[in-house]
């Protein structure tokens, strides 16, 4: 997008970008000859359309961040979806097979975290890479956790 100062027949130069509110995007341009400043104001839908493309009007001042659009635009995202310390939280933790996950879901939610930890610790201590229903049965028997 370029702006032409018709009176001077000169290309206007980008001055600044603002988000003044209500979803409006404002971009100001100045004529280098006469100093006249004009502002482009987009309506919220136009602003949204541009944002949806993952581009920045007026140009980027910092490199694009990973999943920038998703992280910025998804309203129903988890607060803890990412960790910025570069470490996988459950590194070396055993996997849960789909069947074991299904079974875990049947545990009442208020104790599910504790139950999950019990099985995870058991698998880790025994070097078991994947928790399956069979592993859960064995752990229950060995640990005397028949209610889990």
């Amino acid at each position: 997008m370029k702006f032409l100062c018709v009176a001077c027949d000169r290309q206007m130069l980008f001055e600044e970008r603002q988000l003044p509110g209500d979803g409006t995007l404002a971009a100001a341009f100045k004529c280098p000859a006469c100093g006249r400043v004009v502002a482009l104001l987009t309506n919220p839908m136009e602003t949204q359309l541009v944002a949806s493309l993952g581009v920045v009007i007026g140009g980027r001042t910092v490199p694009a961040q990973p999943l920038e659009t998703v992280r910025g635009m998804v309203a129903t995202g988890r607060d803890d979806a990412f960790t910025d310390n570069g470490q996988r939280k459950t590194e070396n933790a055993p996997m849960w097979s789909p069947e074991a996950q299904e079974r875990l879901q049947r545990v009442p939610s208020f104790v599910r975290g504790m139950v999950k930890k019990v099985y995870t610790d058991y698998a880790r201590q025994h070097g078991i890479p994947e928790i399956t229903p069979a592993v859960m049965d064995t752990a229950r028997a060995e640990l005397g956790l028949e209610a889990m």
Binding site: G23, S52, G59, V70, T76, A93, E130
Partner: protein, 264 residues
Amino acid sequence: MSLNLRTYHELAGADRSGLPEQIAAQRRRVTERLAGVGRLIAVMSGKGGVGKSFVTAHLARALARAGRAVGVLDADLNGPTMPRLLGVDHSPLPTPDGAIEPAIGVDGVKCMSMDLLLQDGAPLTFRGPQAESFVWRGALEAAALREFLGDVAWGALDMLLLDLPPGIQRFHELGDLLSTPPPVLTVTIPTPESRDAVRRAMRAASDRSAPLLGVVENMVDGHFTGTAGADLAAEFSVPLLARIPWHPTPDTWDQLAQQLGSSA
């Protein structure tokens, strides 16, 4: 009065926004990120409920068991199921070095899915003016798909399976994002209704010159009757790679993985 207006290209000064350059940079990011991926395969159907994700997950696991480095990109943004199928939990995803680390599922299959990012049970909802959101929602979903391709540290993979949602929209988006449309593995169930819907998807892929790798007929010998798999294979001159019974065994998936490996 007639104004002295000129064309965009007649103004020699730079366009500071550089939107075409920004779009080009996005494409480069995707290309560079996928440089370590040997084969990119879109698993699609055009028909819902035929078991695409189920087939994708078990195929990925079979390939991994055979020693391949495999990833699955869950491109069904509104109905993501891949983490559950691959036994992935919702641990936070690390973000080292300007990229997102994919989750690791059973058999070491790498996985990226919108399910990992959404609140439990919440639909995918975007910020923005909700009135007439249809105008921009498609663009945002395409952007999310682009970021899943370009911002996830897939690393060196023998194969990246793209689990597409029903319909052909996401396939067209993929074709636009990648330099060439990906090869397609098609999933159907035996019924004539499925055949008719899947035929349209295969034709759409063929029209974009995407290689058709073959057909997988799922849910065979159960409640569904018909010959959709054989019909589509014959019509498009592609192999019927597998007929998956209602109760498949690991051997079922191992054979499909072998078939796919030999259909380069």
